[in-house]
Protein backbone atom coordinates (compact mmCIF):
# COMPACT_ATOMS: atom_id res chain seq x y z
CA UNK A 1 0.00 0.00 0.00
CA UNK A 2 1.32 3.37 -0.97
CA UNK A 3 1.78 5.56 2.08
CA UNK A 4 1.07 9.21 1.52
CA UNK A 5 3.45 11.45 3.37
CA UNK A 6 3.22 15.18 3.57
CA UNK A 7 6.08 17.65 3.71
CA UNK A 8 4.88 20.33 6.07
CA UNK A 9 7.43 22.80 4.80
CA UNK A 10 6.01 22.77 1.31
CA UNK A 11 2.57 23.67 0.18
CA UNK A 12 0.67 22.37 -2.78
CA UNK A 13 1.16 25.74 -4.42
CA UNK A 14 4.74 24.93 -5.36
CA UNK A 15 3.89 21.53 -6.79
CA UNK A 16 0.57 21.94 -8.54
CA UNK A 17 0.63 20.01 -11.75
CA UNK A 18 -3.03 19.93 -12.70
CA UNK A 19 -6.13 22.02 -12.19
CA UNK A 20 -9.43 20.69 -13.52
CA UNK A 21 -12.79 22.38 -13.73
CA UNK A 22 -15.68 20.13 -14.69
CA UNK A 23 -19.16 21.44 -15.26
CA UNK A 24 -22.57 20.71 -16.71
CA UNK A 25 -24.53 23.39 -18.57
CA UNK A 26 -27.67 22.44 -16.67
CA UNK A 27 -26.37 24.14 -13.50
CA UNK A 28 -26.18 27.93 -13.73
CA UNK A 29 -23.36 28.44 -11.23
CA UNK A 30 -20.45 27.27 -13.40
CA UNK A 31 -19.49 30.66 -14.80
CA UNK A 32 -19.25 32.22 -11.35
CA UNK A 33 -17.44 29.16 -9.99
CA UNK A 34 -14.84 29.40 -12.75
CA UNK A 35 -14.36 33.09 -11.91
CA UNK A 36 -13.65 32.13 -8.31
CA UNK A 37 -11.18 29.46 -9.38
CA UNK A 38 -9.37 31.89 -11.68
CA UNK A 39 -9.23 34.40 -8.84
CA UNK A 40 -7.54 31.87 -6.57
CA UNK A 41 -5.15 30.76 -9.32
CA UNK A 42 -4.08 34.39 -9.71
CA UNK A 43 -3.82 34.94 -5.95
CA UNK A 44 -1.67 31.83 -5.51
CA UNK A 45 0.40 32.76 -8.56
CA UNK A 46 0.05 29.33 -10.04
CA UNK A 47 1.19 29.24 -13.62
CA UNK A 48 -0.78 26.21 -14.70
CA UNK A 49 -3.65 26.37 -17.17
CA UNK A 50 -7.06 25.25 -15.96
CA UNK A 51 -8.35 22.22 -17.81
CA UNK A 52 -12.01 22.94 -18.43
CA UNK A 53 -14.20 19.94 -19.11
CA UNK A 54 -17.84 20.25 -20.07
CA UNK A 55 -19.82 17.15 -19.19
CA UNK A 56 -22.78 16.65 -21.45
CA UNK A 57 -24.14 13.14 -20.92
CA UNK A 58 -24.76 10.69 -18.10
CA UNK A 59 -22.39 8.26 -19.81
CA UNK A 60 -19.52 10.72 -19.52
CA UNK A 61 -19.97 11.19 -15.77
CA UNK A 62 -18.66 7.76 -14.77
CA UNK A 63 -15.19 7.80 -16.39
CA UNK A 64 -14.84 11.44 -15.35
CA UNK A 65 -15.87 10.71 -11.75
CA UNK A 66 -18.31 13.56 -12.04
CA UNK A 67 -20.65 13.81 -9.07
CA UNK A 68 -22.09 17.17 -9.95
CA UNK A 69 -21.47 20.64 -11.26
CA UNK A 70 -19.20 22.36 -10.66
CA UNK A 71 -16.37 20.04 -9.69
CA UNK A 72 -12.87 21.36 -9.08
CA UNK A 73 -9.86 19.08 -8.73
CA UNK A 74 -6.31 20.09 -7.85
CA UNK A 75 -3.70 17.48 -8.70
CA UNK A 76 -6.51 15.04 -9.18
CA UNK A 77 -8.03 15.61 -5.73
CA UNK A 78 -11.49 17.06 -5.35
CA UNK A 79 -11.48 20.29 -3.37
CA UNK A 80 -14.30 18.97 -1.22
CA UNK A 81 -15.61 15.69 0.09
CA UNK A 82 -17.96 14.11 -2.38
CA UNK A 83 -21.66 14.73 -1.79
CA UNK A 84 -23.03 11.97 0.36
CA UNK A 85 -26.50 12.07 -1.08
CA UNK A 86 -25.37 11.27 -4.60
CA UNK A 87 -24.77 7.52 -4.71
CA UNK A 88 -23.27 7.57 -8.18
CA UNK A 89 -21.83 9.99 -10.69
CA UNK A 90 -24.41 11.93 -12.61
CA UNK A 91 -25.57 15.16 -14.11
CA UNK A 92 -26.64 17.24 -11.14
CA UNK A 93 -25.81 20.43 -9.30
CA UNK A 94 -23.40 19.98 -6.40
CA UNK A 95 -24.20 21.38 -3.01
CA UNK A 96 -21.34 23.02 -1.11
CA UNK A 97 -21.45 24.10 2.50
CA UNK A 98 -20.43 27.67 3.17
CA UNK A 99 -18.39 28.69 6.21
CA UNK A 100 -21.61 29.95 7.80
CA UNK A 101 -23.14 26.52 7.37
CA UNK A 102 -25.55 27.40 4.60
CA UNK A 103 -25.81 25.39 1.43
CA UNK A 104 -24.70 26.92 -1.86
CA UNK A 105 -24.36 25.75 -5.45
CA UNK A 106 -21.01 27.59 -5.46
CA UNK A 107 -17.84 26.28 -3.83
CA UNK A 108 -16.73 28.74 -1.14
CA UNK A 109 -13.58 30.56 -2.16
CA UNK A 110 -12.05 29.49 1.16
CA UNK A 111 -12.43 25.87 0.08
CA UNK A 112 -10.72 26.53 -3.23
CA UNK A 113 -7.84 28.35 -1.51
CA UNK A 114 -7.43 25.53 1.00
CA UNK A 115 -7.07 23.04 -1.86
CA UNK A 116 -4.23 25.09 -3.33
CA UNK A 117 -2.53 25.28 0.06
CA UNK A 118 -2.72 21.61 0.91
CA UNK A 119 0.66 20.17 1.90
CA UNK A 120 2.48 18.67 -1.03
CA UNK A 121 2.82 14.92 -1.29
CA UNK A 122 6.41 13.62 -1.04
Amino acid sequence: MLEKRYNASETMGSSIAKIEFLYWEGCPSHERALELLRQVVAEERVDIPITIIRVDTEEETVPLDFYGSPTIRVNGLDIDTLPGDLPQPGLACRAYRRVDGRISPLPPIELIRAAFRRPALV
Binding site: G26, G90, A92, Y96, R102, I103, S104, P105
Partner: protein, 180 residues
Protein backbone atom coordinates in the same frame (compact mmCIF):
# COMPACT_ATOMS: atom_id res chain seq x y z
CA UNK B 1 -40.63 26.64 -20.98
CA UNK B 2 -43.66 27.69 -18.89
CA UNK B 3 -46.94 26.88 -20.61
CA UNK B 4 -48.71 29.79 -18.98
CA UNK B 5 -47.68 33.38 -19.29
CA UNK B 6 -48.50 36.61 -17.54
CA UNK B 7 -52.23 37.16 -17.56
CA UNK B 8 -53.16 33.49 -18.01
CA UNK B 9 -55.40 31.53 -15.66
CA UNK B 10 -54.29 29.21 -12.89
CA UNK B 11 -53.91 25.58 -13.92
CA UNK B 12 -55.79 23.67 -11.26
CA UNK B 13 -54.33 20.68 -9.46
CA UNK B 14 -54.85 18.46 -6.44
CA UNK B 15 -51.80 16.91 -4.84
CA UNK B 16 -50.92 15.14 -1.57
CA UNK B 17 -48.80 16.92 1.01
CA UNK B 18 -46.46 15.66 3.71
CA UNK B 19 -48.98 16.65 6.38
CA UNK B 20 -51.30 13.89 5.17
CA UNK B 21 -53.78 16.22 3.46
CA UNK B 22 -54.52 16.90 -0.17
CA UNK B 23 -54.42 20.45 -1.45
CA UNK B 24 -56.42 21.86 -4.36
CA UNK B 25 -55.18 25.03 -6.02
CA UNK B 26 -58.61 26.52 -6.73
CA UNK B 27 -59.74 25.97 -3.17
CA UNK B 28 -56.61 27.59 -1.80
CA UNK B 29 -57.15 30.56 -4.07
CA UNK B 30 -60.75 30.84 -2.93
CA UNK B 31 -59.57 31.06 0.66
CA UNK B 32 -56.93 33.73 0.11
CA UNK B 33 -55.75 36.92 -1.52
CA UNK B 34 -53.04 35.33 -3.66
CA UNK B 35 -51.54 31.92 -4.34
CA UNK B 36 -47.85 31.20 -4.71
CA UNK B 37 -46.89 27.90 -6.35
CA UNK B 38 -43.22 27.01 -6.04
CA UNK B 39 -41.76 24.03 -7.85
CA UNK B 40 -38.84 22.96 -5.70
CA UNK B 41 -37.18 19.90 -4.21
CA UNK B 42 -34.97 18.63 -1.40
CA UNK B 43 -31.63 17.96 -3.01
CA UNK B 44 -30.98 20.93 -5.29
CA UNK B 45 -28.53 23.44 -3.78
CA UNK B 46 -30.43 26.36 -5.34
CA UNK B 47 -33.64 25.13 -3.75
CA UNK B 48 -31.82 24.75 -0.47
CA UNK B 49 -30.26 28.19 -0.76
CA UNK B 50 -33.66 29.80 -1.30
CA UNK B 51 -35.69 27.60 1.04
CA UNK B 52 -35.35 29.81 4.10
CA UNK B 53 -36.39 32.89 2.16
CA UNK B 54 -39.42 31.13 0.66
CA UNK B 55 -40.36 29.90 4.12
CA UNK B 56 -40.07 33.48 5.39
CA UNK B 57 -42.38 34.72 2.63
CA UNK B 58 -44.95 32.08 3.56
CA UNK B 59 -44.74 33.14 7.19
CA UNK B 60 -44.64 36.90 6.58
CA UNK B 61 -47.59 37.01 4.18
CA UNK B 62 -49.89 34.45 5.79
CA UNK B 63 -51.70 37.06 7.85
CA UNK B 64 -52.53 38.94 4.65
CA UNK B 65 -54.19 35.88 3.14
CA UNK B 66 -51.40 34.74 0.85
CA UNK B 67 -51.30 30.99 0.37
CA UNK B 68 -48.02 29.34 -0.61
CA UNK B 69 -47.49 25.74 -1.62
CA UNK B 70 -44.34 23.97 -2.71
CA UNK B 71 -44.41 21.11 -5.20
CA UNK B 72 -41.65 18.53 -5.60
CA UNK B 73 -41.91 16.82 -9.02
CA UNK B 74 -38.51 15.12 -9.12
CA UNK B 75 -37.99 11.49 -10.01
CA UNK B 76 -37.35 9.95 -6.60
CA UNK B 77 -36.04 6.72 -8.08
CA UNK B 78 -33.04 8.57 -9.40
CA UNK B 79 -32.90 11.02 -6.49
CA UNK B 80 -34.02 9.14 -3.36
CA UNK B 81 -33.41 12.29 -1.36
CA UNK B 82 -36.51 13.68 -3.04
CA UNK B 83 -38.93 10.94 -2.01
CA UNK B 84 -42.01 11.58 0.12
CA UNK B 85 -40.41 10.41 3.34
CA UNK B 86 -37.43 12.70 2.85
CA UNK B 87 -39.77 15.60 2.08
CA UNK B 88 -41.66 15.03 5.33
CA UNK B 89 -38.42 14.89 7.25
CA UNK B 90 -37.27 18.14 5.69
CA UNK B 91 -40.47 19.91 6.71
CA UNK B 92 -39.89 18.83 10.30
CA UNK B 93 -36.16 19.50 10.42
CA UNK B 94 -36.31 22.90 8.78
CA UNK B 95 -39.57 24.14 10.26
CA UNK B 96 -41.24 24.69 6.92
CA UNK B 97 -44.58 26.41 7.36
CA UNK B 98 -46.03 25.77 3.90
CA UNK B 99 -47.63 22.62 2.49
CA UNK B 100 -45.02 20.55 0.66
CA UNK B 101 -46.75 18.64 -2.11
CA UNK B 102 -45.60 15.63 -4.10
CA UNK B 103 -46.12 15.54 -7.88
CA UNK B 104 -45.23 11.88 -8.35
CA UNK B 105 -46.43 11.56 -11.93
CA UNK B 106 -44.91 14.96 -12.82
CA UNK B 107 -48.18 15.87 -14.55
CA UNK B 108 -48.55 19.19 -12.74
CA UNK B 109 -44.96 20.22 -13.45
CA UNK B 110 -45.46 19.35 -17.13
CA UNK B 111 -48.79 21.18 -17.25
CA UNK B 112 -47.11 24.31 -15.95
CA UNK B 113 -44.06 23.84 -18.15
CA UNK B 114 -41.87 24.19 -15.09
CA UNK B 115 -38.21 23.51 -15.76
CA UNK B 116 -36.23 24.47 -12.66
CA UNK B 117 -36.16 24.15 -8.91
CA UNK B 118 -37.06 26.57 -7.55
CA UNK B 119 -39.50 28.11 -10.01
CA UNK B 120 -42.19 30.46 -8.74
CA UNK B 121 -45.69 31.18 -10.09
CA UNK B 122 -47.78 33.87 -8.37
CA UNK B 123 -51.53 34.16 -8.93
CA UNK B 124 -53.84 36.92 -7.71
CA UNK B 125 -57.24 36.28 -6.14
CA UNK B 126 -58.87 35.96 -9.57
CA UNK B 127 -56.47 33.16 -10.47
CA UNK B 128 -54.52 35.29 -12.94
CA UNK B 129 -50.76 34.74 -13.25
CA UNK B 130 -49.05 37.91 -12.17
CA UNK B 131 -45.44 36.79 -11.70
CA UNK B 132 -43.27 33.90 -12.84
CA UNK B 133 -39.59 33.21 -12.27
CA UNK B 134 -37.00 33.31 -9.50
CA UNK B 135 -37.73 34.18 -5.85
CA UNK B 136 -35.18 37.01 -6.04
CA UNK B 137 -32.04 38.02 -7.88
CA UNK B 138 -29.35 36.48 -5.69
CA UNK B 139 -29.27 32.81 -4.74
CA UNK B 140 -25.78 33.21 -3.31
CA UNK B 141 -26.20 36.02 -0.81
CA UNK B 142 -29.51 36.94 0.81
CA UNK B 143 -28.00 40.16 2.15
CA UNK B 144 -27.10 41.24 -1.37
CA UNK B 145 -30.56 40.79 -2.88
CA UNK B 146 -31.40 43.90 -4.89
CA UNK B 147 -34.72 42.70 -6.31
CA UNK B 148 -36.89 40.49 -4.08
CA UNK B 149 -39.16 39.61 -7.00
CA UNK B 150 -41.56 37.37 -5.10
CA UNK B 151 -42.10 39.84 -2.25
CA UNK B 152 -42.43 42.71 -4.69
CA UNK B 153 -45.04 40.81 -6.68
CA UNK B 154 -47.06 40.01 -3.56
CA UNK B 155 -46.84 43.58 -2.27
CA UNK B 156 -48.09 44.88 -5.61
CA UNK B 157 -50.96 42.39 -5.75
CA UNK B 158 -52.05 43.17 -2.21
CA UNK B 159 -51.87 46.92 -2.85
CA UNK B 160 -53.55 46.61 -6.24
CA UNK B 161 -50.51 48.01 -7.99
CA UNK B 162 -48.54 47.14 -11.12
CA UNK B 163 -45.73 44.62 -10.76
CA UNK B 164 -42.42 45.96 -12.09
CA UNK B 165 -40.94 42.57 -13.03
CA UNK B 166 -43.64 40.14 -14.17
CA UNK B 167 -41.24 37.58 -15.58
CA UNK B 168 -37.65 36.64 -14.65
CA UNK B 169 -35.55 33.63 -15.62
CA UNK B 170 -35.98 30.79 -13.15
CA UNK B 171 -32.57 29.91 -11.73
CA UNK B 172 -31.88 26.48 -10.32
CA UNK B 173 -31.42 22.81 -11.03
CA UNK B 174 -33.33 21.22 -13.85
CA UNK B 175 -36.37 19.22 -12.83
CA UNK B 176 -35.42 15.53 -12.79
CA UNK B 177 -37.82 13.99 -15.25
CA UNK B 178 -38.71 10.34 -15.30
CA UNK B 179 -37.53 8.45 -18.35
CA UNK B 180 -40.39 8.25 -20.82
Amino acid sequence: MATIKHGDRLIDFTLPATDGREYNAQMLLGEGTALVVVFTCNHCPYAQAWEGRINAVARDYAARGVKLVAINPNDARKYPGDDFEAMAARVQQNGLVFPYLRDTTQEVARAYGAERTPEVFVFDSSGTLRYHGAPDDNYEDEQAVAHPYLRQALDAILENETIANVETPAVGCTIKWMAS
